[in-house]
């Protein structure tokens, strides 16, 4: 039961000019995500996953429809207002880590903390890095860290200001299986501890298996939705052919 959804979109559409005509990337998406929910968006390449994430996070503007965060419309906000909103409520984890190359691990984590005006940001950044197992490597530059370590720094950075929503875009896409599993485990732990709403985008059903709800996209539309973590096999599906494997 959803009272005020953390995140909500209605008739969300995105069209891009392509050659002479318009290409519909997303068409009429309706979705509501509750506070604290772990929701995964799944689909093959080109299904519109990343576009949906960009729109939900206010990184991009829809062609049609609306997006609300905590009941407040965000699709009509200015770039500056969106920046302030992100700083207060939204965190990100990317496939390619997106750490700033000229900053150390600690400084990368510090950045959003300082921006959000968190008290004693340095202590909090140290603590977060310790939580992701990098307490000893705070002064290393991204280029001196492995892919998994970089992604763990990115996780620490994302959770730092305690965002109400965290978007993760293929967070394990550039990592080997074991490292990816460790990162997902950490993501789950942090989600539990911080009660953050988590929106994960992936093409990998295995990565999405811990999500409370899995939204399958195909060709810019919702194909089906599954509920419940799939690992225990109690998943239920709606609008589709049933639980995934």
């Amino acid at each position: 039961m959803i009272a005020v959804p953390r995140l909500e979109c209605r008739r969300l559409a995105k069209r891009l000019p392509s050659g002479g005509h318009e290409l519909t990337v997303l068409a009429g998406i309706d979705l509501a995500i509750a506070p604290g929910e772990f929701c995964a968006i799944l689909g093959p390449s080109g299904s519109g996953k990343s576009t949906l994430l960009g729109l939900l996070a206010g990184l991009d503007r829809p062609s049609d429809g609306e997006v609300r965060l905590d009941g407040e419309r965000i699709d009509d906000k200015s770039e500056d207002q969106l920046s302030l909103l992100r700083r207060a409520k939204v965190g990100f984890v990317f496939q390619s880590f997106q750490l700033l190359g000229n900053l150390t691990a600690l400084e990368n984590v510090l950045l959003p903390l300082e921006l959000a005006g968190v008290a004693k940001p340095r202590a909090r950044a140290q603590e977060l890095l310790a939580q992701v197992g990098l307490g000893e490597r705070t002064h290393h530059y991204p280029s001196q860290l492995s892919g998994g370590e970089q992604q763990r720094v990115a996780l620490a950075r994302a959770f730092g200001p305690r965002p109400s929503v965290l978007f993760a875009d293929e967070p394990t896409g550039n990592l080997d299986a074991a490292t990816g599993a460790r990162v997902l485990e950490l993501l789950g732990e942090l989600h539990q501890r911080e009660h953050t709403t988590l929106v994960l985008v992936t093409h990998d059903a295995h990565v999405a298996r811990h999500a409370e709800r899995r939204i399958h996209l195909r060709a810019g539309a919702i194909e089906r939705i599954e509920f419940g973590a799939s690992a225990g096999g109690q998943g239920a599906s709606a609008g589709g052919e049933g639980a995934s494997a």
């Binding site: 990184l59 900053l103 959003p112 300082e114 875009d169």
Partner: protein, 839 residues
């Protein structure tokens, strides 16, 4: 976001910046060095002037006039019982010895002169004690010229004076001031014996005061005001306190500073262009970081603040470095060019010049980084998800503000340098116009390069042209910067060489080469004979009466002068100066009446006034001028306004009266004639012997003096222009090295394909030479065009430019550019072929 966060973020961004740092710092350091050098030098001279002001003036207060100063002035200083008074009189006159003669600056002083500062004599002595009615002290260069030793005799006004000492140093006599000849000191009694002080002589009188009560500035101002209000002769007096320290020298110093300051600013502005180039490349390489920052919630203006902070940090380092280097310049000049600075001056460090240089450097860097930094607004946060995302449109107001920042910044900087609103506005507008032209030229050439069918060309040339056409590697910026450098140097070289040449050949064939001042009426025939003996041509002599203007249309001149009290210089001076009137029935050939008619009112005595002078006086046809001619009041009606061809160098006057008007007035005669150099010397000797009171002024010598000053200024201008050129080359090297990484791969590939290292160097050399060729061609052409306009239309001297130099300048730029580009790619050239196998 807090300032400390901006500083921290900026510091982080500075790490690992590598070559960007070097070129950024170099671009600014050069310009700031030029600016600091100029203002440091001027500051040093000003400081010295202020610190030694008493010594320079020789007194606490000096009262100066072109006529004897009345006793009533002394009453105004009576408040100080312990006051001391000294006198000095100065005039240019002929000195002769050993059958040689020349013009000298004679100064007659009372025994207690000067109160402060010492006139250094060889053998050491007190000037006042040394001089009596029969002795003199002379400058060593005069002694050398005449072959005089101590005890020898020198004739002044036909009277012999024994040389008692040589003047080694005289405070207050500056090289930058205009002097007619070497110094000769005599006593007041000596001056009287020489008989040089007679009617019409060009004597400058000076009363000097030592005031032990040390009156404040306000007290002195009050005395001045009272003298002005109460004394009839006040308009003719110049009262100077040591606190004002050489106002005329300071004024010309300020003009020099304004001119050189702007030339120096040019190299800083170019440095700004370089900074813009570097920032543009840097922001482009940081698009992903900007996108991440945007995703993290930074607003564009906060990202801007971060990047501006970084710019400011680098600018501070570069400017400080430049200021430090530039502040050595006055010391270097003091060591190398001793004659440029007044003797005995200690060059002091000028912290103000340092601060000023650093401030201007940082300011220009910030202002010029504004336009490239607007790219921040165009970075879409969604770029973190897809790299092909469309850039956002930058808000119009941001682009507009960035443009305004550059224009406003330029204006503010030129105002700071020139301290003149109109000059600053003109300078900014001219810069904008030139930059626009250079950008257009550079763009046009890169476009043209893209369309040149290059398939059949030599591979070296093909590669070079292709590089010119390659978009977005900063070719336009580098071309503009280098072109500006070439423009400045070429333009200054052209204008200076043409001006000096014109001045050297300035004398029209029949123009007089010598003027004879202070000829007494009874010497008129003698002078004519002497001139004839020397085979003089174009001989002319006219009577001159000196007078003071009393009223214009019934309004006393004193009142008019007071009304103009705020205005400096000419405006007041035209009213209060000693007016020189001549009279004649006919107009000289080079005069033309443009308004009214000559001697047209039979009932009135008339005067004809030169047009510009009439405008300065504020008179027109029908005005009435009343003159005080040595005590007699003469009213003259302005019946005509005329123009004078001053370039003819003939005898001409602002005021020409009807002959009957000044009949019987005391006067002397001004003669002029043309002689060759040899005959001029002969005439001088003859005059020294037979009419010693007559002062011959050689036009050639004066032109030489002007040339000397012009050459010094032009040299300084060209040295500063060199800084501009260096900055341009630095920018070019910066552009070249930004592309060096990419070039390393290119070199490896080319070597794999079989090109030798020298071959690759040749390939790149051609490319950079082409950029230089384009910059050189545009810059030098613009310089020739501007020089032509200036010489032909502004100073109307006729251009006659050395057109082949256009090609030489262009080729030299190409060469410099090739050398510079190769030097910047030195490391890339060393890439090994194996590297082409790695991705």
């Amino acid at each position: 976001m807090k300032t400390s966060e901006v500083v921290r973020a900026a510091w982080r961004e500075s790490r690992g910046a590598g070559p960007r740092l070097v070129f950024f710092i170099a671009c600014l350091a050069l310009g700031v060095a030029a600016i600091t050098a100029v203002s440091g030098l001027v500051d040093a001279i000003e400081q010295a002037l202020a610190a030694q002001s008493r010594e320079l003036l020789g007194a606490d207060v000096s009262v100066q006039a072109r006529r004897p100063i009345g006793e009533r002035v002394d009453a105004y200083f009576a408040f100080d019982d312990a006051r001391e008074r000294a006198q000095a009189r100065e005039t240019p006159t002929l000195a002769a010895a050993n059958s040689k003669s020349r013009l000298v600056e004679l100064k007659a002083v009372s025994a207690n002169f000067p109160f402060y500062g010492a006139i250094k004599l060889d053998p050491p002595a007190q000037l006042g004690e040394l001089l009596d009615a029969t002795t003199c002290a002379i400058a060593p260069e005069l002694a050398r010229e005449f072959g005089l030793a101590l005890g020898d005799e020198l004739a002044l006004g036909g009277q012999p004076f024994r040389v008692a000492a040589f003047v080694l140093d005289e405070p207050g006599r500056l090289d930058i001031a205009f002097t007619l000849g070497p110094r000769v000191f005599v006593s007041l009694a000596g001056l009287e014996r020489s008989g040089l002080e007679q009617y019409g002589s060009r004597m400058r009188y000076r009363e000097l005061y030592r005031l032990p009560s040390a009156p404040s500035e306000a007290q002195l101002a009050d005395i001045k005001r009272r003298i002005n209000d109460e004394l009839e002769e006040a308009p003719y007096l110049r009262i100077e306190s040591h606190r004002e320290a050489q106002p005329t020298v300071r004024r010309s110093l300020q003009r020099v500073e304004s001119y050189l300051g702007l030339v120096a600013l040019l190299s800083l502005v170019l440095g700004g262009v370089g900074v813009a180039q570097i920032v543009r490349a840097w922001v482009a390489s940081r698009t992903q970081s900007v996108a991440v920052l945007r995703v993290l919630g930074y607003r564009p203006r906060e990202v801007l603040a971060m990047y501006l902070g970084h710019v400011a940090l680098l600018a501070l380092v570069g400017s400080a470095l430049g200021a430090l280097v530039g502040s050595f310049a006055p010391h270097l000049i003091a060591q190398l060019a001793t004659d440029l600075l007044p003797s005995g001056f200690e060059v002091a460090w000028s912290p103000l010049a340092l601060v000023r240089g650093v401030a201007l450097g940082v300011f220009i860097a910030l202002v010029f980084s504004a336009p490239p930094l607007t790219a921040i607004w165009r970075v879409a946060p969604a770029r973190v998800l897809r790299s092909d995302i469309e850039p956002l449109p930058a808000p119009r107001v941001v682009a507009w503000l960035a443009g305004a920042a550059v224009a406003g910044g330029l204006f503010a900087a030129s105002l700071a340098q020139s301290r003149d609103f109109a000059v600053a506005a003109g300078f900014t507008a001219a810069l904008a116009l030139l930059a626009g032209l250079l950008v257009l030229g550079a763009r046009g050439l890169t476009r043209a390069a893209a369309h040149v069918p290059r398939e059949r060309l030599d591979p070296y040339l093909r590669n070079g042209i292709a590089a010119l056409a390659r978009p977005g590697i900063g070719v336009v910026g580098a071309t503009v910067a280098l072109g500006f450098g070439v423009l400045v140097i070429t333009l200054m070289g052209l204008v200076e060489s043409r001006l000096s040449e014109r001045l050297r050949n300035a004398l029209p064939a029949d123009a007089p080469s010598v003027f004879l001042l202070d000829v007494q009426p009874d010497q008129r025939e003698l002078v004519r004979t002497l001139l004839e003996e020397c085979n003089a041509t174009s001989v002319r002599d006219v009577p001159v009466a000196t007078a003071r203007l009393s009223t214009i249309d019934g309004v006393p001149v004193r009142e008019l002068a007071q009304r103009r009290a705020g205005a400096e210089g000419r405006e007041q001076w035209v009213l209060t100066r000693e007016q020189r009137l001549t009279w004649a029935r006919e107009l000289p050939a080079d005069n033309r009446v443009v308004e009214g008619a000559l001697w047209s009112d039979p009932a009135r005595m008339e005067v004809s006034v030169e047009r510009d002078f009439a405008a300065d006086l504020g008179v027109r046809v029908g005005s009435e001028l009343v003159f005080d001619v040595q005590g007699a009041s003469v009213a003259l009606l302005v019946s005509s306004i005329r123009t004078v061809e001053w370039e003819s160098f003939g005898i001409n006057f602002f005021l020409l009266a009807e002959p009957e008007a000044l009949e019987g007035a005391p006067h002397n005669v001004l003669a002029a004639a043309r002689l060759d150099v040899e005959q001029e010397r002969k005439l001088q000797s003859a005059l020294a012997e037979r009419a010693a009171n007559v002062t011959p002024i050689g036009v050639r010598a004066i032109l030489e003096k002007v040339l000397g000053v012009l050459e010094k200024l032009a040299l300084a201008g060209r040295v500063l222009g060199l800084f501009t050129m260096l900055t341009g080359l630095t920018i070019l090297a910066g552009v070249a090295s930004t592309a060096a990484v990419h070039r390393g791969r290119e070199v490896a590939l080319l070597k794999t394909l079989g090109l030798t290292r020298a071959g690759v160097a040749g390939l790149f050399g051609v490319e950079f030479a082409l950029i230089g060729l384009v910059s050189g061609a545009i810059g030098a052409s613009a310089a020739f065009a501007l020089a032509w306009v200036f010489l032909e239309r502004v100073v109307e001297l006729g251009a006659d430019l050395p057109w082949p130099m256009l090609g030489v300048a262009t080729l030299l730029t190409a060469l410099a550019s090739a050398v510079c580009g190769l030097a910047a790619n030195y490391r890339a050239l060393a890439s090994r072929p194996i590297e082409s196998l790695r991705g």
